[in-house]
Symmetry: C2
Subunit: 71 residues, 2 copies
């Protein structure tokens, strides 16, 4: 089934968060053709790699890098 290496998966997810800041996990999953669980389960792994993700009170996801404290 040609599973992609984990690193590329995480990179895709983070890039989608950058491209669509504020989207919820389910929306990103549809954009990426992934299962919802895959996206939510990847968030901790993203942070471990230094790609911090901020989550607002409605589940919207935003990139949290570049020392941007207005998120």
């Amino acid at each position: 089934m040609a599973r992609k290496p984990n690193a590329l998966r995480l990179e895709e997810i983070y890039h989608k968060i950058e491209a669509y800041p504020g989207k919820r996990a389910a929306s990103l999953a549809r954009l990426l053709g992934l299962n919802r669980s895959e996206v939510t389960r990847s968030l901790p792994a993203l942070e471990e790699r230094g790609w911090l993700v901020y989550e607002d009170d409605r589940g919207g996801l935003y990139p949290f890098d570049k020392a941007n404290s207005q998120n």
Copy 2:
């Protein structure tokens, strides 16, 4: 057996190369408690992650970052 995630494994290997530049794969394997094959098989994965490793003609391994061309 508490196998560590692949990313941490690769990081450990590269840190050992930094700590003991010039050591061969078998030496690093002993220092890390790993099999020799694990270290040599990890070298391509290290490069894919941007942790370039230089290998001299006797098998000694060196970090190859920081634009250091005297390696």
